[in-house]
Amino acid sequence: MIKIEKRNDVPMALYFFTPFIAIILTILGGGIIFYILGFNPIEALKFYFITPISNLYGLSELLLKATPLCLIAIGLSFCFKSNNWNIGAEGQLTFGAIVGGGVALLFYNQEGFYILPLVILAGAIGGMIFALIPAILKTYFNTNEILVSLMLVYVSKLLLDYLVVGPWSNPEGFNFPETRQFSDSSRMPLLFEGLRIHAGIFLALAAVMLSWFILYKTYLGFQIKVSGLSLKTAKYAGFKGKTMILVVFMISGACAGLAGVGEITGPIGQLHRMISPDYGFTAIIVAFLGRLNPFGIIFASLVVALTYLGAETAQIFLQIPKYTGQVFQGMILFFLLASDYLLFFKVKILNLKKNELRH
């Protein structure tokens, strides 16, 4: 018979160490999968985890891919830490990109140093407003934020579809579902000639610093953490729960909106239907892999970004199906949850006698 018991003493060091165990297990698991598929596992893993970042261009691409993941995950950490399950970051990203992109299109034939900041600000506000919908519905009408935020993803995507097909489509673009190219004044400045890494990375780094400061050095951060540990305690302590819910959703939405605006003003340069390959959902994995810790999230976003790049490289050089990238992301989350479970619970195998079983 198997008995599961809660552990009373979970060592903190181990808590921050299990993500590494999860990653190592994922690499081992990946190696086994490659072997079964008939590839040399060492070679496959090399193409997966080393080749993509073996040159400057690759490193730039890694940071480019990690930037939106990091930004969104930082925002989500505020929600998740306070027990607010915002699953709709993808929608907030999309709506932020719509608002920011709208401003960029407004200035499509103009130049000026003020345009890009306006576009970025509009994107953050857009994401913020969109995240407020599930927050307000939750605080005043007691709806389930998981459902509302998730369903709003489809609303924002359909709105984007409508805009790029209809009113915002490029008048010279033969009705193809995309807007005009933004002017250079609404594009993120590139950091290096010939590489795609852009100034958006500073937004992500600023978000990391700011979130660390808010979470660990302010009263709001204290409230968020207490509410996450025990809602009742937070109530007894007299925290204003409603305000806090609104604030964490706003922070989360603003971060996702910034990620969206970073993509369209950075590598993409226009609005179309494929602005995000589900960054908003992948960032949920990033947030948990990073233990909802700002610096952990930086690390986690780089690891997850690498699984994307690795999947492409492995396909180009070895023709390994691209979906192994998703398998890797799934394995990371699975091993993390599994090791967490074993961290918090003891599994005891009891050897009982027959008569004892009857009781």
Binding site: Y57, E61, G166, F174, N175, R196, H272, P277
Partner: protein, 354 residues
């Protein structure tokens, strides 16, 4: 002196070896927008790739590449890793293809269905799918009992509108009472949405279903409902053997092989290709025996006439929905008009989404 002679000899051998080597190393890359198993658009490009491989040329493909920020990296990686010719097989790769082409002047690029050729190493290619639509229209006009043809459309771009118009014109020729009903699904591949659209059209009385989307869901829905349908992009007959009358098949293989050999032998040049039934880039699947021998004969004759140029899909008089003349009697639409087509012809119901 002899020393130098040997030095030159060695370097000559080296150079020779190198050039032979680079010929043997010639590689072609393919970027796909969907999975190779979609049984539609990407499936057919993959068949084209297999033909290139069968011609003794090494190839690489990357499937399911999103048309966003990732596309540029994938194309660039292919260019960087020694691919000499790269086919990017979806419209959304247009800007990334041109951007990478600028940085790799020695690599040749072929972009499907786009209109930008910003650098001398970028060619574009597409197929005159509308010629196939003319054949479908002829068949649909003869086969329908309700005089209503249901059309599942993806995006209101000229290519799709051209197909709707070509089909409607051909159907009207054999059946003046024909009406074309359209559902826009705003996707190229979404089995769920496509099936719903097919069902909605059937509910509105359409007994022939046609699609400009890539999944097999519409033909399967038609099979279940007992109405006629047509396969799209590849021969979909085995997915709906009773319902499918024929399929429009995109056959990229001859073009891919020709261009790959040209690039390898150094005779590749920039061009804008628009091939149809004549060159075989558009082909038809087997005709369903339910059509009857007479109709099959008629359609096969029409197919020959379209290929030879004796018949053109857009022969005047053609009117728009309001009755204004688009193409005068006795004239045919030129390629410029076809490339920018953005109005429905008379007989199509509804408005183009704006």
């Amino acid at each position: 002196m002899y020393k130098n002679f040997f030095k030159y000899l060695i370097s000559a051998i080296f150079l020779l070896g190198f050039s032979v080597n680079s010929n043997a190393d010639f590689k072609v890359g393919f970027v796909y927008v969907g999975p190779t198993g979609d049984h539609g658009w990407t499936f057919q490009h993959h068949e084209g790739r297999n033909a290139v491989e069968a011609a003794g040329i090494k190839t690489t493909f990357v499937e399911s590449v999103p048309e966003g920020a990732d596309a540029e990296r994938v194309i660039r990686q292919l260019a960087q890793s020694g691919h000499d010719l790269i086919f990017t097989t979806s419209f959304g790769y247009m800007d990334p293809t041109n951007k990478v082409a600028k940085d790799f002047p020695n690599v040749k690029f072929e972009h499907a269905t786009g209109y930008k050729r910003e650098h001398s190493n970028v060619s574009t290619y597409s197929a005159r799918f509308y010629e196939g639509r003319t054949l479908l229209g002829h068949i649909a006009g003869k086969m329908t009992k309700t005089n209503t043809i249901g059309y599942i459309a993806s995006f209101p771009i000229p290519e799709v509108i051209r197909g709707i118009n070509a089909m409607t014109l051909a159907a009207q020729k054999v059946n003046p009472n024909i009406k074309t009903k359209i559902v826009w699904v705003f996707t190229w591949y979404d089995p769920g949405k496509e099936a719903e659209a097919a069902q909605a059209l059937i509910d509105q009385g359409a007994d022939v279903i046609m699609q400009h989307t890539d999944s097999t869901a519409p033909v399967q829905t038609a099979e279940k409902a007992g109405v006629w349908s047509f396969g799209q992009a590849s021969d979909m007959q085995r997915f709906a053997p009773k319902s499918i009358l024929t399929s429009i098949i995109d056959d990229w293989a001859p073009y891919y092989v020709e261009r790959a050999i040209a690039a390898r032998d150094g005779t590749w040049n920039q061009q804008d290709t628009w091939h149809g039934l004549k060159e075989g880039m558009v082909a038809m699947g087997p005709y369903n025996s339910a059509m009857g021998a007479d109709l099959v004969k008629e359609v096969e004759q029409l197919q020959k006439d379209l290929a030879s140029g004796k018949v053109h899909s857009f022969t005047g008089p053609i009117y728009d929905q309001k009755g204004n003349i688009l193409v005068a009697e006795g004239k045919v639409a030129d390629d410029g008009m076809l490339a920018g087509m953005s109005v429905y012809v008379k007989g199509v119901e509804g408005d183009i989404p704006k």
